[in-house]
Structure formats: structure tokens, C-alpha cells
């Protein structure tokens, strides 16, 4: 393995801590959403919104706490991750508050969500702080490999036992207790990454080396196929029982990525693709929910045909409304508060929040936001490259890969590039589980990057050592 050689190139001794860079970036990450917030108020009511001071101070406070904790507990961490997350979270708050102002959504019975989201964001930052303070070293998580697996399975299976509401459009991904609901699939993203990283770290040699060569490909032994088949079956089961295409795709994709990184065997990717294609095709033939999504993906505008000409299973104009929002935004957008993305109606603040970015901030804003996500992924993978231990590498790449996949699945779905699946846009979308999970994810990446970039401790001076003498010959 090339671990050793990389350690010397990237984790070079005396790397600057970059904490001041982070602070400067954080200032931008706070100021930009505050200006956006003022912009929305001016566009809608013609006045600076009353809550601007509270919102500005609140965000600044959260950012300051997070920064101080990073400074104290992870001084060598990557300087971009925290500002990126803060900026996206702040923009998300502004967008949700902007949609709260929509009369149309109010008439649909959607209450205000921005204050709740602010509370969740605060909890998210609190979680971030807790992770950084108590998780001194990410390798501790290695101990919980199999416990993680059990917890992940329990959490994933749980929603299937709770009744789905009608307004969830068939997806069973919530656990509801009274008015309180969580989406365990979000948390499982991290927990299952712990399991994959721990498991693969142990088994990677067996998986990589004990294989037979067949038609130029290294095929794994039957017994090593066990785990991949298990995960595959798991994701199919999620799909069938919870009709959650997105989460299923996310977990399977994450596993394939981590497996590939662990074993360096291209054959695994091929295997993974074939299996996911087979699984998806099989499920799609008998799951009407999945079929509906595909029909809506192929004919988004057919919803406007008279009912008798409409393809079967097309029930919502969401896809079409999202396309209208993107198209109407054009290159420069309508400006915050001046679009009509609320026409999407249901889920405008959650799954479809990107359509509001597209309409009100335009192509320019979309590219900027997508680049923010790309930067988070890039910093995450960079952290994986820099990490010195295989567990850290696998963990970092697993989390970053899952993050990238989630962004692709949600954004691609909203932009009708791929069939729509119900998942939230990290940080932007309304939803407590998602915000908390993603703050924890950022905290873990920061922890790994701190470990990776920390200068190697100077070797302890040996009391027995004699000063070396240079002997001239």
C-alpha cells in the first residue's frame, strides 16, 4: 500500500493550521445569507425584514461557536468545510423563509418553517460541537463496526412499521411519534459508513487478492460475495418495503465506492452496476411507485393533457412545475423573492428547494450552489487522500461519495435528469434529520482532516541516545 509514501507528501511537517483563513471565509458565509435575507424582505414587502438583526446575530453566534470549537479541538482541520456548510445552511434558511412568505403555500396549509429550521440548524451545530469535542480520534469508531451494522439495520427497518401518511406520496421513510417525525435514512448514512469502513478495512486483502481471473476480470470468491449480496439485498428491501428509491441507490452506491477504494478492483464496480441495474429493473416491473416516478421523468409535461390521454400513473405536475421554475429563472434569475417557484406546491421547501434557487438566482446561482457542494465533496475526498490510516481514508471517501451521490440524486431528480426520488438537498432543504446528519458528517470530515494534517509528533528523545558524532575519514 502506498499509505506511507503519501503521508510524507501531504501531511508535511509544519503545515499552517489555516484557522484564520477559515474565520475570514466564515465571515463571508454569514454575511452573504444576511444580505440575501434583506434582499428577500425588500423584494416582497419593500422593507428590511424585522428579524434581520436576530438572524444575523444568530448565524454569527453559531458560526463563532463552531469556529472556536474547531480552533480548540481540531486546529489543523480543513479550513473550507465549516464555511461551506455554514453558507449552504444560511442560504437554506433564507430560501425557506422566502417560501414561508408565499401566500400560495399558505393556502395549501403549509405553515412557516424557517424558525423550526433555525432550531434544527442550532441542534445541528450543537451536534457538530459534540462530535468534535467527544470524538477525539475517528479511529475510535472502528470499534463499533458491527454495532453500527445492527443499529443501521434497525433504523432502516423501523419506518416500514410506521404507517405512511397520504401526503408522503407513497414513500415510507419517516418514523412518527405524535407530531414529531424523523427520517432515519439520513442518520443511517453515517452509521452505515462506519460499518462499511470498519468491515472493508479488515476484509480488503481477502476481497482484493483471493480472486480468480476470468475473462480479464478478477472475480471474487463466493464466500467474499456475502457482504456485497447482503447490502444489495438490503437496498432492494428498502426499495420494496419503504419505496424509497433514493436511499436505496445511495447506500448501494456508497458501498460500491468504498469497496472499490478498499480493493482497487474495477471488477467490483462492474459487479455493482450490473446488480443495481438488475435489482432496479426487477423492482420497477412490479412496484407501481417506482413506475410512476419513471413515467413522470419521461413525460413531465403530459400531466397537462386531458386525463384520458395522460400516461398511467402520472399524478403530479411537480416535475413540470420544477422545469418551469428553472426555465423561467433563465441565466440571471428573477431575483430573490420575485419568482413563483411556490407553484410547485407540495415539497417546495424540502425536496424541490433547488428549483427556487434555479428560478430566483438563475443559472448563475445554480452553478454557484452546485460548486459549493462540489467543493465540500472535493474537500472530503482530499481529506481521504491525506488521511494516514485506511479506516480514515475509507470513512472519508464513503461520506464524501455518499454526499456527492445524494446531491446528484436530488438535484438530478429536480432537474429531471434522472427519475425523481424523495431525498433532501443537504443543508438547503427543510428537514431536521437532514440538517443534523449533515452537520455531523462535516464534523467527522473535519475530525479526519485534523488528524491527517496534524504534524507528526516529534519523536520522544531517547535518554540512552548519545549525540551522534561525525567521524571524518
Amino acid at each position: 500500500m502506498s499509505v506511507v509514501s503519501n503521508t510524507t507528501t501531504i501531511g508535511s511537517i509544519g503545515a499552517p493550521s489555516r484557522r484564520n483563513t477559515e474565520l475570514l471565509m466564515l465571515a463571508f458565509a454569514v454575511v452573504i445569507p444576511v444580505f440575501a435575507y434583506i434582499n428577500v424582505g425588500l423584494a416582497i414587502d419593500g422593507t428590511v425584514p424585522a428579524g434581520v438583526l436576530g438572524m444575523g446575530l444568530g448565524m454569527a453566534l453559531l458560526a463563532a461557536v463552531a469556529h472556536i470549537v474547531v480552533r480548540r479541538f481540531a486546529p489543523y482541520a480543513d479550513p473550507l468545510l465549516l464555511p461551506l456548510a455554514t453558507l449552504l445552511n444560511g442560504l437554506g434558511l433564507v430560501l425557506i423563509w422566502r417560501l414561508d412568505q408565499s401566500e400560495r403555500l399558505r393556502q395549501l396549509g403549509q405553515g412557516t418553517a424557517a424558525s423550526n429550521q433555525l432550531m434544527w440548524s442550532t441542534l445541528g451545530v450543537a451536534g457538530f460541537v459534540i462530535v468534535l469535542i467527544f470524538l477525539k480520534d475517528h479511529r475510535i469508531l472502528q470499534r463499533y463496526t458491527y454495532i453500527s451494522m445492527v443499529v443501521a439495520l434497525v433504523l432502516l427497518a423501523a419506518p416500514a412499521f410506521f404507517p405512511a401518511r397520504e401526503e408522503d406520496f407513497g414513500a415510507k421513510i419517516w418514523i412518527r411519534i405524535g407530531s414529531f417525525s424523523i427520517q432515519p435514512g439520513e442518520f443511517v448514512k453515517i452509521i452505515i459508513a462506519v460499518f462499511f469502513a470498519g468491515y472493508l478495512m479488515v476484509k480488503r486483502d481477502a476481497l482484493a487478492l483471493a480472486s480468480r481471473r476470468f475473462m480479464g476480470l478478477y472475480l471474487p470468491r463466493g464466500r467474499d460475495l456475502g457482504p456485497i449480496l447482503t447490502v444489495w439485498a438490503l437496498s432492494i428491501l428498502i426499495l420494496v418495503f419503504e419505496t424509497d428509491l433514493g436511499t436505496s441507490l445511495l447506500f448501494f452506491g456508497m458501498f460500491i465506492v468504498m469497496l472499490y477504494v478498499a480493493t482497487e478492483r474495477t471488477s467490483w464496480i462492474l459487479f455493482g452496476l450490473l446488480m443495481s441495474a438488475a435489482g432496479a429493473a426487477a423492482v420497477a416491473t412490479f412496484e407501481s411507485h417506482v413506475q410512476q416516478r419513471i413515467v413522470a421523468w419521461l413525460n413531465p409535461m403530459a400531466i397537462f393533457l386531458p386525463p384520458e390521454q395522460r400516461p398511467d400513473g402520472l399524478i403530479s405536475d411537480q416535475a413540470a412545475q420544477a422545469l418551469f421554475a428553472f426555465g423561467s429563472g433563465g441565466v440571471l434569475g428573477t431575483g430573490l423573492g420575485q419568482g413563483h417557484s411556490d407553484l410547485i406546491g407540495f415539497a417546495a421547501k424540502s425536496d424541490f428547494i433547488l428549483a427556487t434557487v434555479g428560478e430566483e438566482l438563475g443559472l448563475a446561482g445554480m452553478m454557484a450552489v452546485l460548486m459549493l457542494y462540489a467543493l465540500i465533496v472535493q474537500r472530503g475526498i482530499r481529506t481521504g487522500l491525506a488521511a494516514r490510516d485506511p479506516f480514515g481514508k475509507l470513512f472519508a471517501v464513503g461520506l464524501s461519495g455518499a454526499f456527492a451521490l445524494q446531491v446528484f440524486i436530488v438535484a438530478g431528480g429536480v432537474m429531471n435528469l434522472i427519475p425523481l426520488t424523495g431525498m433532501t438537498m443537504p443543508f438547503l432543504a427543510q428537514g431536521g434529520s437532514s440538517v443534523i446528519t449533515n452537520w455531523a458528517l462535516i464534523a467527522i470530515l473535519i475530525r479526519i482532516s485534523d488528524t491527517a494534517r496534524r504534524p507528526a509528533p516529534a519523536p520522544a528523545p531517547s535518554p540512552d541516545a548519545e549525540p551522534t558524532q561525525v567521524v571524518r575519514l
Partner: protein, 487 residues
Amino acid sequence: MNKPLRRVAIFCGLLVLALLVRSNWLQFVQADEFKTHKNNRRVEIQRYAQERGNIIVGGKSITGSAETSGSDFKYKRTYKNGEMWAPVTGFSSQAFGSTQLESIYDGILTGNDDRLFFSNTVDMLTGKDQQGGDVVTTLNAAAQKAAFKGLGDKKGAVAAINPQTGAILALASTPSYDPSKIAGNSLKTDTKNWQELSSEDNKDKPMLNRALRETYPPGSTFKVVTAAAALENKRYSSIDEKTDTPLPWIMPGTTTPLPNLVNEPCKEASLKVAMQFSCNTVFGKLGSDLGVEKMAKQAEKFGFNEEQFVPVRAEASRFPTEMEPSEAALSAIGQFDVAATPLQMAMVTAAIANDGKLMQPYMVDQLRAPDLDVIEQTEPEELSEAMSAENAQKLQQMMEFVVTDGSGKNAQIPGVTVGGKTGTAQHGENNSKNPYAWFISYAKTDNGSPVAVAVVVEDSGAARESISGGGLAAPIAKGVMQAVLGK
């Protein structure tokens, strides 16, 4: 482990690249298609986002805009005296689209027309909302009022034209409707009103623009066309020359005599006298003698068999081009399959009053930008030379004689030369329904004729015996002419 890690990084980069490309595709390449898609409600929202430009009559707007609440459409159309002006304006409704001037000049009125691009750009740069332009019509408020009031509770229509230019002065249709009542999109009021107005069961058909879109058998008023054909084809050189018309006159190919209202004066009557007494025998025989081809040619010179665009579309009036001689005789007195819109009969009258020259009728004088710049000005245009000036003047003498000494005495205006013709058109199976009362007329001053008018009353509630063009329709025509003359 770093080699596959770098490849994963590339893979993630490709995912983001795919999203970026898709975003560019949606928001740049396909943007216009979605932006203007017919199901994109933003198009409608934008339409009603600012006050609509107005339709102007005599320097005053007959429309307006009012802010609405509880809807994402900010402004809705209002109409001043909507029932009276509905045949002119049409309607612009948030829920039911728009018609007539409101529809044809929607771009100007909303401000979306390309010709307002400069004005819009200036507004955008100075931070003002987009403004709509105005449509200035040729209508005459006094004449319209006279027409509408004259029709009153009766079912009918009036069209008045300035013969010298073709400018439409009045366009009334009753029963009418108030477009304000369907301008919004409220289910409780607008939709209910709409259903009531457009219902099949509504016998009044209030939304039918009778002046332009309904065709009626013109009856005896069509005899002026037959007379024009006779003169143009040099059948008689003088209007006082006796015609070779026996009494009774049996229609060719049949055994049926054509009846007259009064018989005695019609025997061998001259054109002038035949017009005075509205002799069916004289004009019926003329029609069958002239033949279908010549009659149709004359009718078409007056605008029959063709849709007119003023610029609102007017139904094509009909004169059949193939028929039996007996049918030609009936057609020559405005029965059988002949049908004309009130506008068409006003055009016939106007052409006669304008010494034979038929002007293209129009109702929009100019289109105006919000800053009052004229975007488009309509210039009067000759549609056809319907008859020679000499023959037209002969026909004028005949029509003036009808008013002084014939059935059109009700249209006399002291001190003004008025020419006219009455009509009482039969319709229904075997003449079962109440006849339509027609009157066409023009007034003349020293500077030529300023007004020609056609009035039709389909149903007045009057007893069948008392229905006559001279009795019901002529007073309305007189009122319109007086309004135009200012007397």
C-alpha cells in the same frame, strides 16, 4: 488506496459536471420554451401583474383596471358601461381568456408587444413597472349611446359607419352583457356569471355580437343592392322609367305569384316608385332577369361572401352563387338563402352614400404607446368601387324618396337629407316566426355623408302585425344619425 480514491474524485466531478450541464441546458438552451409554455402560470401572472392599457373612445377610456385580492393575478379588467361597449371591446378575463379588441391587441394592452420594447426597456432601466399601451377606437360615444338606448329591451343590433372613411361609429348588440362580471377568476362570481352567460339554455345569447357575428335575412333592405345591379347593368337608364312588370308576377318555373304588401302601385312601377312601395314583384323580376351571376357579382362588390376584419372578424354575409330563377327572385328581395350582418348592410348603405365607393370598415384609429407615441395609425382604404358615382346618386334619390314619401318617414330629420330603406324579413319554417325589422339609412350634409347606419330588431315583444322596419328600426337609426350630426 489513493489511486482508486482519485478515480472516485473524478467520478464525483463527473456527477457535478452532469448537473452543471443539465442546469445550463434547462436554464439557457430550453429556458424560453419553459418560460413561455402555455401551462406555465407565470405567463398569466405576468399578464395581470400590471394595469392593462385601455381602450379609448372619443378621448376617454371605456375600460380600466382594478386591483384584486386573494389571487396571484394582481389586476383585473374593469369596464365602464360594459353592456353598451361589450360588442366593441370584447372581454379580457383572468379565467376565460379574451375576445375581440381585447384579444387582438392583447400584446399592446399588456405591454408585451415587440413594438413596445423600447418603452419597456426605458421603464426597466428607470425601475418602473411595465405599462400597457392604449387602443384608440373610431367609435362615437354619442352614436353608440343612441344605438344602445334605442335598442333598449329589444333584441337586435346596430352598426354605423362613416361612409367617407369606413370608420365604424357605433356597434351595438342587445341583449348584451357586462364583461366586468367575468373579468376576474372567482368561482363564486365570475365563473357563475360566465356559466349563466354562455349557457346553451340562455335564449338571449348575450355574448353573441349580433352586429358582426350574426347574419339575418336582409329582406327588403336588400332591394337597394338589386337596384344597384339593375342600374350598373344598364337595365334602366332612368329611375323613373317604367319597368316591364306584370301584376301578379308568377315566379319562373313555378305557379306561385310573388306577393306584394301593396299591389296597385307596383304594376309596371318605375324603380323609384317600386322602392317607395317596396314592390317585391319589381325587384323579384329584376333579380331573376339579371340572373344569379350578375346579382352575386354586385352583392360581392358590396362585400358579401367574404369575412370582414375590422379588425375584429365579422361573419361573411351570404349571397348564393348558384340557384334556380325563382330562388334568384326571392334572393333579390333579401329572402331565400341571403343573409347579412348588420355591418354588411351598413357597408352597402355607406357605399351608396359615398357615391359608390366602398371604404374598408375599421374600428381602431391608432395604437398608442404608454408615452402616447403613436405605434400604428389606420389610414382609410378603399375596399371596392361598388358602383359608379352617377348610379349611386340615382340610388340615393330613390332612398331619399323612401324617407320623404315612402315607408321610411320615421327617419326624417328636419333640415338634413336622409336616405333609407325599410325591411321586414320573414324567417322560420313557412314564415312561422316573427319577422326581423330592418332599417338602413344615411344622412347627408354639404360635405358628403358623415354616417350610414343599419339597424335590425329581431324580437321586440311587439305583436306580429305591428312589426315593421319603419316602425321599429327607423327611429333607432334616426337617433344614431342625429347623434353623429349633433342634432
